[in-house]
């Protein structure tokens, strides 16, 4: 049982005030940096933003840190986003983790499979920073900063 994710409150205010934790999963370090900037703009403190280069690294982080929202790329080496989401949904203690796909993926069947795995939203690259900012606020149930 992952104690870190066993008691997830429902955010209703600014994310930084509620100490929301966001995990960015993307194999591109430069894209992680760009997404991290947007997450910070959305009001999440830098110390609450975590990064993983693939799905396996993301699962390891989820073992130790309470994560409210995963921003997930799909096409990654080692463990891709679909494999990660499949593993995530097998875990009772991680059912409340929100997942937003941020990817170049356009394949309809694969996106439908991600939806069936409980993915909350999909944001296709290239995206405007404001789009991601709004999506983060929407998924976390807060007003944009």
């Amino acid at each position: 049982m992952n104690a870190a994710n066993s008691n997830n409150p429902t955010p209703s205010m600014h994310p930084s005030q509620l100490q929301c934790h966001v995990l960015i999963v993307d194999d591109s370090p430069i894209l992680r940096a760009a997404i991290k900037k947007v997450v910070k703009l959305a009001g999440v403190g830098e110390d609450r933003i975590f990064e993983a280069g693939n799905g396996l690294e993301a699962l390891e982080i989820l073992e130790t840190v309470w994560i409210d929202l995963v921003l997930l790329d799909l096409n990654m080496p080692v463990m891709d986003g679909e494999q990660f989401a499949t593993e995530l949904r097998k875990r009772d203690d991680l059912q409340d983790v929100a997942v937003v796909v941020v990817s170049t993926e356009a394949n309809r069947e694969r996106l439908d499979r991600m939806k069936a795995l409980g993915v909350n939203h999909t944001l296709r690259k290239p995206f405007e920073p404001e789009d991601l900012c709004r999506l983060i606020a929407d998924v976390l149930g807060v007003k944009p900063a």
């Binding site: 430069i30 894209l31 760009a34 096409n75 990817s103 356009a106 309809r108 694969r110």
Partner: protein, 157 residues
């Protein structure tokens, strides 16, 4: 609208490829670019990246860029001065641009019912670039730096 997820593809021409790249640059990095009428006036390409796709058609998107372009792209994405950007970060920025542009191309080809899938983007080489035969191609002037794009694809067997 394309409603057949297995066979239909929408047309792609060089102007559309150019517009997809311009949009990707603006949205991802706030880098402004325009189609270039005089490519010889731009710095030579030194960095190469490519990505494959498969589905109703199989093919790929290849990028060739001047070092100055990759440096500017990385600095815009990272929000730092271009002088602080390493060559490795520039390479990574172009690799990610190949990923994003590859996604835009397959979405253009496949539409909402897209049946295409992307491979992983990778850095390429001048040898690979010179041997590529592009169906569609364009050269962009991005603030005086070169970005050259080729897309090649053929109907899957």
């Amino acid at each position: 609208m394309n409603t057949d997820p297995t066979n239909s593809t929408r047309p792609l021409d060089s102007d559309t490829l150019s517009q997809l790249a311009i949009e990707a640059l603006e949205r991802t990095a706030f880098v402004l670019a325009d189609p270039c009428a005089d490519p010889d006036a731009l710095p030579s390409a030194e960095v190469f990246a490519e990505i494959d796709f498969h589905g109703p058609e199989q093919g790929g998107v290849d990028l060739a860029a001047s070092r100055g372009f990759t440096r500017n792209l990385a600095s815009s994405i990272l929000g730092c001065d271009a002088a602080e950007v390493t060559d490795a970060q520039g390479d990574e920025a172009l690799r990610e641009l190949a990923n994003i542009l590859g996604g835009s191309v397959i979405y253009r080809l496949g539409g909402e019912q897209c049946a295409f899938s992307l491979g992983l983007p990778r850095l390429g080489s001048f040898q690979g670039w010179s041997g590529a035969s592009g169906h569609e191609s364009c050269v962009l002037d991005a603030e005086g730096e070169r970005l050259e794009i080729r897309c090649h694809h053929r109907r899957a067997a």
